[in-house]
Symmetry: C2
Subunit: 398 residues, 2 copies
């Protein structure tokens, strides 16, 4: 017979809450993960499995995918970073894991409640809910820092095969979009339809969750153009570039948030080519490769947010030869730019492309960088002409 | 007779460009500043005055308001930071000013062109235009860093009494809004009308310029609620808080950009009370006071962007006594929080309010801070209840 640590009463109480199936009338069908499974039911099964193990006096355990560096793999066939097959077991009876185990179950319990209530919050909101109370009969305060809860949310996502957005947790949002498509948004008890070609100077703010209770219809655009900087997006929007070219114009407004990466993936799934227009510097490259192959820390949701089909339109150092005026527009590359260019030459998903090797070697040789804003030099509307020419000539990096 | 420095040919050529009145057909009436003056005409007069001085062989000069600390004043009657009456003269004949004088005229020339073309850009776009060329007969490259052009843009704004948005220069935008009002946006050759109560989970992205070619109509809301964090804004939006309370719900998404400050001012001008709901920490206070009294570095546009009528709803350390559960939700105040609280006690626009002195002394005594997200602890919808109660009881800080 297994001898439980003192904490077992708390765990049982937390589980008891997590497997409650409250009689709250849901406003809509249950939320599904990307495999079509009901997320609320998954959390209930998760709790019930643990409860049965407690009942049978076995050690409660669950499995999750290992997110350590050795299990982050790049598969050329897939074209993005994902997790390998290595799993890790979380075991309540392992003293070193007991607290974190309880914390994970508490997080599952709270997310189950959010799904039942049909309400969303941020991971900060979740943290304060956990600090407030873990359930009626649990008075222990097991969370003191949010940094404790973040990796456990990932544990749960990777264990269940769901995204945090499916657990009613909002990630930070950032990014803006305009183009010939419509969005139908079922939110806060109201259904709105927005024509994203009628959003004026503002554009449409890309939300955290672009999957649940939201639909993109009448996508009439022919391709997706991603523009690193909001200021350049505004320039192109004012010119009506997306109208003339019939494209979807997106700016991640810097590094792409989960919502922007996901909507680019969804538009690529509809068959739209994806072009990215960034600075030729450490940030511009980083933003591109994050969109294209995903990132290490989000490898566990790689399939949902990476777009390997994406092409890099520019700006590139080869542009210096094609557009003479750019020669006086370069900036001195920083140590960080050069170090990053060197590192990138070591990544297999980058150095398999001869064109990128050439570009990065140019950076290391010339020691300069170039901003996309420079294309406004000759005249403000030149930015659009540059993009048109690049696409027409298929003058991009893979 | 004045002996000109070598640069005078360049200056004359730059001025010649700035006073051109190109025969471009404007799509709409000329842009006006907040006093109703035509901005393009102001730039032409600016150039013509200089040209006449050159013609009369006098030293070209212009006056601007001094933006040094000694000329930044707080007037209790007005309730915001503004510039005093001290002026500074810029003189082309002063060798130490010659280059900057030419640069300022070059900036005026470019902005005049943007207004004539009816196109906008960012200050980065302006910088690259200046680097590209200063005019047909000027081959000198007088700009090497953007940091050189920024203070000169301010010189021009303060000299002419215009905002950079009136010069077709976009400032960085950030911030989101939802509520019962409509926006009519005449942009990029198209006129769109958006009902801001039909913007779903996204809300309306507040643009850089909320004055020119844009109108806010059917403002049916009764007050404005500003919420520091986007995550908390999303929480309240999902609850339909703004519908139930009939308010305009704005998040600056951190520090308030010029566009957000300006739209708050405009809504206050329509008679709507303004309430601000922030963290009780260094950032929360800073964001509040920037909205209310403006900031040192934007004192030259203080009247346009400050809202002295604003009230601070919370969170406050007095809340700890009213809401028992908050006691376990506090965080340790950092050195920065404490230092700032001490500094704030020294500002006349803050320490004139006994309630703020009390609050800040509490911070220094208890050495804790409190986040607005904590109000999601008991239940996610508690945030809205808290705000309702605060407003009902007029329980705010001035």
């Amino acid at each position: 017979m297994v001898s439980y640590p003192q904490n077992h009463t708390n765990l049982k109480n937390i589980i008891a809450v997590s497997i409650q199936r409250p009689e709250i009338i849901m406003a809509k069908d249950g939320k599904k993960n990307s495999d079509g499974k009901d997320v609320k039911k998954m959390l209930e099964d998760f709790g019930e499995n643990l409860a049965q193990e407690v009942h049978r006096q076995k050690a409660p355990t669950f499995k999750t995918l290992s997110r350590t560096k050795s299990n982050i793999v790049y598969e050329k066939k897939l074209g993005y970073l994902t997790l390998g097959r290595a799993t890790e077991e979380r075991n309540f009876m392992n003293i070193g894991q007991t607290k974190r185990f309880m914390q994970t179950v508490a997080i599952a319990t709270k997310c189950h409640k959010f799904l039942a209530e049909n309400l969303h919050t941020s991971i900060r909101g979740l943290f304060y809910q956990l600090k407030f109370s873990l359930g009626e009969d649990v008075d222990e305060n097991i969370f003191s820092e949010q940094s404790e809860s973040n990796p456990l949310i990932e544990d749960l996502e990777a264990s269940l095969g769901v995204k945090r957005e499916d657990l009613n947790l909002n990630a930070n949002r950032r990014g803006v979009l305009v183009g010939n498509m419509k969005v139908i948004d079922d939110y806060g008890g109201e259904r709105t339809e927005t024509d994203l070609s009628k959003t004026g100077r503002s554009g449409w703010a890309v939300p955290s969750d672009v999957d649940n209770d939201i639909e993109f219809v009448d996508v009439k655009a022919k391709y997706v153009l991603v523009v690193e900087k909001d200021a350049v997006w505004q320039r192109l929007n004012e010119d009506g570039f997306w109208k003339k070219e019939n494209c979807i114009l997106i700016s991640p407004q810097g590094q792409a948030a989960r919502g922007v990466r996901r909507i680019i993936r969804k538009l690529a799934d509809k068959g739209l080519p994806v072009y990215v227009f960034n600075d030729a510097d450490v940030w511009g490259w980083y933003i591109y490769w994050t969109i294209k192959t995903g990132s290490m820390n989000l490898a566990y949701v790689g399939a949902d947010i990476a777009t390997p089909e994406a092409k890099f339109l520019g700006v590139t150092l080869s542009d210096l030869e094609k557009y003479q005026f750019l020669k006086k527009m370069t900036l001195k590359a920083t140590e960080v730019d050069l170090k990053r260019a060197q590192e990138m030459l070591g990544y297999e998903w980058i150095n398999q492309h001869g064109e990128w090797v050439e570009e990065l070697k140019k950076v290391l040789k010339l020691k300069v960088k170039l901003e996309q804003d420079t294309l406004q030099g000759p005249r403000l509307t030149f930015v659009g002409d540059y993009i048109r020419e690049k696409i027409k000539n298929k003058d991009w990096l893979p």
